[in-house]
């Protein structure tokens, strides 16, 4: 009786351990969980850190490639040098080579110095001309051939400065460096400093890096990625047109129609293995089959596209099969149950439901192919200087060209440090393409899935 009243008044004591205190075992388990969360966060953090480092270094190293130093030159197109007979015949004007234009540039340079009151230690025009890109003469010549009526007048040109001058304005080249450099002297930099003050030398955005063609090893200031971008475009067209229909047809057959037996198992294992084969192996296969056996042109985007198709097919087949598998079997039953044929059930019901997955897989496969360099190495799309735009669609597929990653690789291995910056700049463009493709994949996925 007394016990009962006591327990009613005073709080009862828990039978086994208080819930308000953690026992040793629970503490250990909680600590293990906290540690695991920390490891996970640390792993994510390290990943993010590296991503940020990567992006920062790419942007820092690559952005200078998008600006270029130009020198404004009033060039007098002297008739006695360019058109001796004075009859403005384009054929005769073409006979004057770029060497014939150099004196005009020299003269224009002296004139600019004089106009801006800049003292020059150089007597010879050839020495002064080191500040100007070797492409300047060709640029003026092209202009004259296109506009022969301008001969005799003074035309203002914005010509590229040489890569050393450009590097000086970008902080890459210092006076100390030039002590060991025969391409430019410290005195040139003094002139550049003064011309910059006067506004005759300026660094501006350089469209020709994005749209232009590659240049020879000695003219990094002229090099652009535009032509190899076209090469990549034609290659991707080949890859898309071949790998999407072949890949989807193969997956549908294997997934929905093929009997499950030793042969299909073997094919399945081989497709999975092919996806893991190093891309350079596909390159050497392409070299042997497409170039040496079938005699398709070397370095052509068509061959590059064929090789990359071989490489992309396993990716597309695997992702397509996975998305076909993920369509619930009840949908197939439903279609068969109302008397649809196997093919009707696949094409009317299964394929539309699998479409977002197929498209995503295809775009991811294309993005992979876009960034692939190794197979291009073997079919000659690396090292070729893509200096001309293709004339049309056919030559776009068949004429030698490079591709963006191959162009970047090519720039990165050239000796001139000015090319280093262009390699980074090219990577920015490549990454933009890849990001765009991934965003398209996400958007397509959303659009198709939103329907139901």
């Amino acid at each position: 009786m007394t016990d009962a009243t006591a327990s009613g008044a005073a709080p009862q004591k828990p039978a086994s351990g208080s819930l308000l205190e953690l026992d040793a075992r629970t503490k250990r388990r909680n600590a293990a969980e906290a540690r695991f969360k920390f490891y996970g966060m640390a792993a994510v953090g390290i990943g993010l850190l590296f991503l940020v480092l990567l992006l920062v270094s790419i942007v820092r190293n690559g952005v200078p490639a998008y600006t270029q130093t130009f020198i404004s030159l009033p060039v007098e197109l002297q008739a006695e040098k360019l058109d001796k007979n004075g009859n403005r015949d384009p054929e005769e004007i073409k006979k004057v080579s770029t060497f014939g234009y150099n004196p005009l540039i020299d003269q224009a340079l002296f004139r600019v110095l004089e106009e801006n009151g800049v003292e020059s230690p150089f007597e010879k025009g050839a020495d002064l001309r080191k500040m100007v890109s070797a492409s300047a003469a060709a640029e003026i010549r092209d202009y004259v051939i296109a506009n022969p009526e301008k001969i005799g007048e003074t035309v203002s040109f914005r010509v590229l400065a040489s890569s050393r001058v450009d590097g000086y304005l970008k902080g890459r080249v210092t006076r100390e460096d030039l002590a060991r450099d025969k391409n430019l002297d410290a005195e040139h930099l003094d002139i550049i400093d003064q011309l910059k003050e006067a506004g005759a030398v300026a660094r501006t955005f350089n469209w020709s890096f994005i749209l232009g063609a590659d240049a020879s090893e000695s003219r990094p200031e002229q090099a652009g990625i535009g032509v190899s971008m076209l090469g990549s475009l034609f290659m991707m067209l080949v890859v898309l047109l071949l790998s999407l229909p072949i890949g989807v047809a193969a997956s549908i057959y294997l997934e929905e129609f093929a009997p499950k037996n030793v042969w299909t198992d073997l094919i399945e294992v081989n497709i999975s293995n092919l996806a893991a084969v190093p891309s350079i192996v596909f390159g050497i296969l392409g070299l042997a089959v497409f170039i040496q056996f079938m005699h398709l042109p070397q370095s052509a985007p068509l061959v590059g596209g064929l090789v990359l198709t071989l490489m992309t097919l396993p990716t597309i087949i695997i992702s397509t099969r996975a998305s076909l598998k993920s369509v619930p079997p009840s949908i197939r039953d439903a279609a068969l149950g109302v008397g649809a044929s196997k093919m009707q059930s696949v094409f009317h019901h299964v394929l539309p439901l699998a479409m977002p997955g197929i498209l995503t897989g295809t775009i991811i496969g294309l993005a992979q192919a876009l960034g692939e360099t190794a197979p291009l190495l073997l079919i000659g799309m690396v090292g070729y200087i893509a200096s001309n735009y293709p004339d049309g669609v056919a030559s776009g597929f068949l004429d030698p060209n490079s591709a963006m990653p191959a162009q970047i690789y090519e720039w990165a291995k050239r000796a001139d440090p000015a090319y280093y910056e262009r390699a980074w700049g090219g990577i920015i463009i490549l990454l933009l393409f890849l990001m765009t493709m991934n965003i398209i994949a996400v958007i397509l996925r959303r659009r198709f899935e939103r329907r139901w």
Binding site: A334, V338, G339, A340, H349
Partner: protein, 265 residues
């Protein structure tokens, strides 16, 4: 209205729609169905009951050759539909399935509109000559599926947005849209609540006027409520087949009795 009851049906016993003779089904090495002989009458609800894994669904799927889609499945014996062997080499299962419709355990509407769900079958079989024809078929089927009043204002809404019971009735409507002669139902109410089950059962009873209905069910009460004939399967054997009232009140085989009274299963 759609099938005027023939004189013959009223005078004699109902005609035999499906006759199975010594049917054996193998899944790889497993002998799933052993020597099943059963005769299913026209315009009758026949229930297949039995414990899980006894082969009743497997046998049902033999009746419209849905087992063809399973690679390791082999069927022996003879199944006659109106006297024709459905496993004959000349029979295209697609044509068969237009005659023998099927409703599945889980409601499986296509992820399309309610209208397209119903219209799909008639479209692929070319049953409608015009859009107006198709509209008529859709309305008729939805009415027969006892779901018309609920969906007539939203025919173009997705079929997957309906409730479970509505989805199942939509699937039944879809199955009848192709004008089948036999309707197979594989546990059509197992995913439904009691109210939806009641609606579907009522519907099955109405469908009996036009079709031969074969229903697989786990629920003995359901079999007793909706069917006129019942077949009891056990371990791949057809143990007993007869009038539902007789099976439930006076079973011949001791195994049937113990299943019905709840001692096995």
């Amino acid at each position: 209205m759609y099938d005027s009851p023939s004189l013959e049906n009223e005078v004699t016993d109902k005609a035999i729609k499906i006759a199975a003779d010594k049917v054996q089904v193998f899944y790889g090495d497993t002998h799933a169905i052993k020597d099943v002989d059963v005769q299913i009458q026209d315009k009758t609800v026949t229930a297949f009951i039995g414990p899980s894994g006894c082969g009743k669904s497997t046998f049902l799927r033999c009746l419209n050759r849905m087992n063809d889609t399973i690679d390791i499945c082999r069927v022996q014996g003879q199944i006659l539909l109106d006297g024709e062997d459905i496993y004959d080499k000349r029979v295209d299962p697609v044509q068969l399935r237009a005659k023998v419709g099927m409703v599945f355990q889980k409601p499986n509407p296509f992820p399309k509109s309610i209208y397209d769900n119903i219209a799909y079958g008639p479209r692929i079989h070319g049953l409608a000559k015009s859009k107006a024809d198709l509209d008529v078929i859709v309305e008729k089927s939805l009415r027969r599926g006892a779901i018309w009043d609920e969906v007539k204002d939203r025919l173009h809404a997705p079929g997957t947005g309906l409730s479970g019971g509505q989805q199942q009735r939509l699937c039944i409507a879809r199955a009848v849209a192709t004008e089948p002669e036999v309707l197979l139902m594989d546990e059509p109410c197992s995913a439904l609540d009691p109210i939806a089950t009641g609606q579907v059962e009522e519907l099955i009873d109405e469908l009996r006027d036009s079709y031969s209905v074969v229903i697989v069910t786990h629920s003995m009460q359901q079999a007793a409520r909706v069917s006129q004939k019942t077949a009891f399967f056990h371990l791949g054997n057809l143990v007993e087949y007869g009038e539902t009232s007789q099976i439930f009140t006076n079973p011949v085989d001791p195994r049937t009795e113990s299943y019905i009274t709840g001692r096995i299963g």
